[in-house]
Symmetry: C3
Subunit: 373 residues, 3 copies
């Protein structure tokens, strides 16, 4: 292994967007346990797998067998059946303890907006080593504000400030609530209260009203903590076409100095890289996509090194549920970034010193600076 690959293999990471791993040691039914895991290998398919093979015959499935199996005492590329049996023996916590430690992550920034069946940030940090910080989800705050007795806007701001006091960032899943198309300006207060009232009258739970969603974004901008956006690839509840980050351009023009973090980005990584160059406050990463791309993730990581200034790139796994994803995010990023920058050094386009310096920036320096960790 060359010096660059060694450096990338051991550099300490800040995972700036992640969720907990599955909390339950194992559900009663072994089949349900297996199906839950195989379904997670198909991020986009909310209907879940029809058979174990549906999930394992993917780049993510092959990557699990290549990278996680040896750490769990199995042969590299072992069969799905063997892998699942070993998983059941170890239980989620046993799997997590091994795989998370091997990820080499020093700080975890945990989106707590979805936490059903997942461990808490502190449990994540305890299992994986390092420390945890919270990222608060705007849509969750909206739902709490609507349940309050007072005026919606006041409730929202009060909850946001209270939650944000203990957090390092906010997060928007606008991509899952209608996408980025149309007007994203700050709505007039009167309209906000009307929209909130309508939503309360309807007994709504999931906030999809554009006025309320826009209101939340602008309060997050005022707050000034980094604001994370889910971009591109995700499950099919999002409409991929309307999660193209270029649709955020007007919003970004008015976003001032608040750091805007474009998460995941596949297959819009070139568009996101352009935005990170165009706007001094825009950043991006390749989380989620990296572990689902498996053997193809190195090419994706290389494409992230195009128009975005290197001070604008971060690392995340977006691991959520199986601890395999927290692990794969890290190991595939390590090997992918090494391969990418090594190719630039081999062509004498970059110096070796720059190569390791850029790895450090993406691995932790940029996150430390932007999140003031």
């Amino acid at each position: 292994m060359g010096a660059i690959a060694e450096h990338a293999a051991s550099v300490s990471l800040i995972d700036h967007h992640v969720h907990g791993f599955w909390a339950s040691a194992a559900p009663g039914d072994p089949d349900a346990f297996d199906i839950r895991f195989a379904s997670a290998l198909l991020e986009a398919d909310t209907a879940g797998v029809r058979s174990i093979d549906d999930g394992f015959d993917t780049q993510a499935g092959f990557a699990v067998r290549a990278h996680c199996a040896p750490l769990l005492g199995l042969e590299r590329h072992c069969s799905p059946v063997d892998y699942l049996r070993r998983r059941r023996e170890l239980g989620e916590t046993g799997v997590a303890r091994t795989l998370l430690h091997a990820a080499g992550v020093a700080q975890w920034l945990v989106d707590t907006g979805f936490d059903i069946g997942l461990v808490s940030p502190d449990e994540l940090a305890a299992a994986g080593g390092g420390v945890a910080h919270e990222v608060v989800r705007l849509e969750q705050i909206a739902e709490e504000a609507a349940a309050g007795a007072g005026g919606y806007a006041d409730e929202f701001v009060e909850i946001l400030q209270r939650r944000a006091a203990g957090a390092v960032a906010t997060k928007s899943i606008l991509a899952y609530r209608g996408g980025f198309g149309g007007d994203l300006s700050d709505p007039p207060p009167a309209l906000v209260e009307l929209a909130a009232q309508r939503w309360r009258d309807e007994g709504g739970r999931r906030v999809t009203d554009r006025i309320l969603l826009r209101f939340g974004l602008h309060r997050a901008l005022e707050l000034g903590l980094p604001l994370q956006f889910h971009i591109g690839f995700g499950d099919r509840d999002a409409d991929l076409a309307t999660s193209n980050p270029l649709l955020l351009t007007d919003f970004l023009r008015g976003s001032g100095a608040t750091p805007i973090m474009l998460l995941h980005c596949y297959p819009f990584e070139r568009e996101a890289g352009y935005l990170a160059q165009a706007f001094g406050n825009v950043y991006l990463d390749g989380g989620l996509a990296i572990h689902h791309l498996g053997a193809r993730s190195a090419a994706f990581i290389t494409r992230l090194l195009e128009m975005a200034p290197f001070s604008k790139l971060l690392y995340s796994s977006d691991g959520c549920g199986p601890a395999e994803f927290h692990h794969l995010g890290a190991v595939l990023w390590r090997s992918g970034i090494a391969r990418a920058v090594q190719s630039f050094v081999d062509a004498d386009e970059w110096s070796q010193l720059d190569a390791t310096r850029v790895i450090d920036m993406i691995a932790h320096d940029n996150a430390k600076r932007v999140y003031r960790l």
Copy 2:
């Protein structure tokens, strides 16, 4: 040649979307014969070539000289003039007999919706070896239904069922009839009859009415046979911008269990791959684009191996007219898939066993299962 390349070079193929080759031995005018061939090298340009070089100075043209020339007794990379002379000597059938056999295709699924000047499915199978199956085009059925005396909807369903009885799939060229934008829901019966009446009154031939096109799609969904869609790259009668498969997302949400086959897909292969992961009934291939990409097809084939589960990828050539395309589709796919999976094995991301297994799935296993061949 390594084991993977050998496997890919000899695996039996099911070409799940193809047309006939040119029927005529040779038109009277040698120039017309040459121009017809050179024009076919520029799929997108419906105006045709201005000179032989216009067509040959392309990736498709270089691929013809690299791969087809030696099989016709010429040197690899021979001149276009030499290639055309030899073509004229052999005639279309002579060329086809040699090139089709060398493609190694066991089953041909032939779209008969466009057949002017092309051989029949049986003639294709006779020249190429293997057996032929029919794919019926919905827009052709619409045009037959409009010419009937009865109610349009009844006529359409009656013809569809009769044609489908001997077919393995249906095919839509909605990409060529206005694209995928807008409402694609099942239209009310009264509107269908009104639209059909208007079309008959206008003496229309090419069906472009959105109501009739939507009606046809939903009858095909009910039929349950795999439904093929032309996606992306094609000739310029299609509007590339509106043939982005993400515009089909809402239609796919309502498509039930009927297999939906996204054909060709360039340059939207990543979007198509996402859809194949998101929807259990969505499949894709890279036909047509592969032979037009020539030396760049291996990179394209590699990109197809990203988000789509491997059980959702198929092989097709979309060969139509010159038998060179039926041949190039196969040989470029064979070398491209071998190069792609070999790179994964070399990086120890995939096992060699998985590599050959995935080749088999794409070459024939998936098609056999989906089309019940």
Copy 3:
């Protein structure tokens, strides 16, 4: 170095779209001099850099240190501080004289529509060797026509014809004036005069009125000189989403025989390549993006070799301001095209003769033919 790389390294170039380099030897304030340079490394960010490192920690910045530093007597990959010090010592003209000569450009086609602080075409040619030709910008003509006393349409046509008499092409920056969406047909004369009157009444300077912009495009079509369009990546005054060249499809259908030159194209190079195949009068290049992609430019140049016929590809740098860009455009194109075609020859997909022939076509033959140089 192999024969192909040698050929690419020495082939004479026609830079078919370029601007002048910075005219001033050096502004009084050294910091301003450095900041101006570092800001230019971030094309998209019109707000400019906050620190020198913001600009240098990019692919463009790394490429400057790799390729320009040695020509200015510094070590390859020297520090930004050293590079800036040397720049200040040499002054803009000193830097330009060295870097431009080393670019190996025989003819410069200079867009004079933006020239504040830039040298003239003749000064560019004098510093770089070779000869200069002018490209006239339609929006500049519109602004001159509005300032005239006569009818707008007559003034526009009169100025266009006068300017075009000494020029080789026209240029549109519609991408920076609202993008390509919507109706681009020739507007009725009465509307043109009304729009011009409204603009004059408002004391407008920058023309953004769609009617006047459309009018200009159609007069350029009638003129028949090649018409250049800025496409895709540029500074953030353009909206990247609406500079997708597919939005020009309807305009291209009505563009007749006038050559349409799609400039830069990133990240829409595949869409542009399709258009170059679909329309006999459409051409493309990868200028601007090449030097900003630095070590990633070879991959981009390879993608340009997909659907576009090889007779439709040209070379440009789009250098503007720092002479480093005029230089990097050339040297990165030379190494990138060599790497691309060498890979095709190594795979025996292309002959070596074809490889050097295609290099010549893109380097100068196509430009000579289209611009009648």
